[in-house]
Symmetry: C2
Subunit: 201 residues, 2 copies
């Protein structure tokens, strides 16, 4: 059994990648997370793009462990904000990780923006870096639009104001399974499948 | 003497346009402002671009008065924010016109952005619309970069964190005359000169 490191401490993300590998019939990869490796050096994400951040995190993880490593970076790209908050999604209101402040700020900034210009997409980059140094990075996009009042309590971040294309519910009103089936992160990870398969072929 | 309406209530902007016309030797245009016209309908600026806002304001002004009208819209375009705050410069922190909150938010958002990626530009669009319906819109840009702590007390808006190319002072440390000689608004208005000259030729 080969080990694959997913550079996260989030159990739900680990479960998601395991399920995606299972569903695709990729056997022989044992997915571990950062909690399974000692002393991982957490570096700040200061890249200009999702791709740069995902690659940097995967490079750090592969170097620290000698394992092939997958890392992702994701955020919300709002048309009327020229694609921002983007890589600054988690710190849009200034502090780090205050979901409600970030969401409220986007709503306030878009206060005068009419419905036809409220397009947005969740975007994820996923990178695979091997100990030999090969780097692959792919992107998954989940298009939709932003509403004016938060709805729903599932998910996190900007989920309560994002309505995916073809949906009437926000992504915070979808079940975890519904979200996983469609979301930007899932799309990016599935784009990586051909490369993950090569690790065990 | 022909009248030209500058769609502003700001006396400094009126003086600036009069000076630019004088310096260029454009005689015969009497510049008036919105305080000189009765009951001007103030519309919110909700366009997606500086140009759209400037044209909309000039169209409103020309329609309301039957005079040729000049209007401008301007803001700060930050590279690391994909050109935002842009048309949302005056309401970046959510409320309208809170200069200090807007500036503090940009600094916080750029907290992790290294010096080499702190490029920014002040951008102004200036539109001339005649009562006959001809529309001209031009753009002036003042490139520079953002520092990490506000300096200087002249100017307004983002001036205390913006250092123009070739300067070591912020635009809030320049005198009004120095700023006018170089700034985005002055550049845009001077781009309009050939069209303003036609009004009296």
């Amino acid at each position: 059994m080969s080990e694959l490191l997913l550079a996260t401490r989030n159990a739900a993300k680990l479960a998601e990648l395991r399920r995606i590998l299972d569903d695709a019939g990729v056997a022989g990869l044992h997915v571990i997370g950062l909690d399974d490796v000692p002393e991982f050096p957490e570096a700040p994400e200061t890249g200009a793009t999702f791709e740069a951040n995902a690659v940097a995190k995967a490079v750090d993880a592969a170097r620290a462990t000698g394992l092939p490593a997958v890392a992702d970076d994701s955020g919300l790209a709002v048309d009327a904000l020229n694609g921002m908050p983007g890589v600054l999604s988690a710190r849009w209101a200034g502090g780090h990780g205050d979901d409600r402040a970030n969401l409220d700020l986007v709503l306030a900034q878009l206060g005068d923006v009419p419905d036809e210009r409220r397009g947005a997409a969740f975007v994820a980059a996923a990178a695979l870096v091997t100990p030999e140094g090969s780097e692959t990075v792919v992107r998954g996009t989940w298009p939709g639009h932003l509403i004016r009042e938060p709805r729903g309590s599932n998910g996190f971040g900007y989920d309560p104001i994002f309505v995916p294309e073809g949906e009437s519910r926000t992504s915070a009103e979808l079940s975890a399974a519904e979200k996983d089936a469609d979301s930007h992160r899932g799309r990016a990870l599935r784009e990586l499948l051909p490369y993950l398969r090569q690790l065990v072929s």
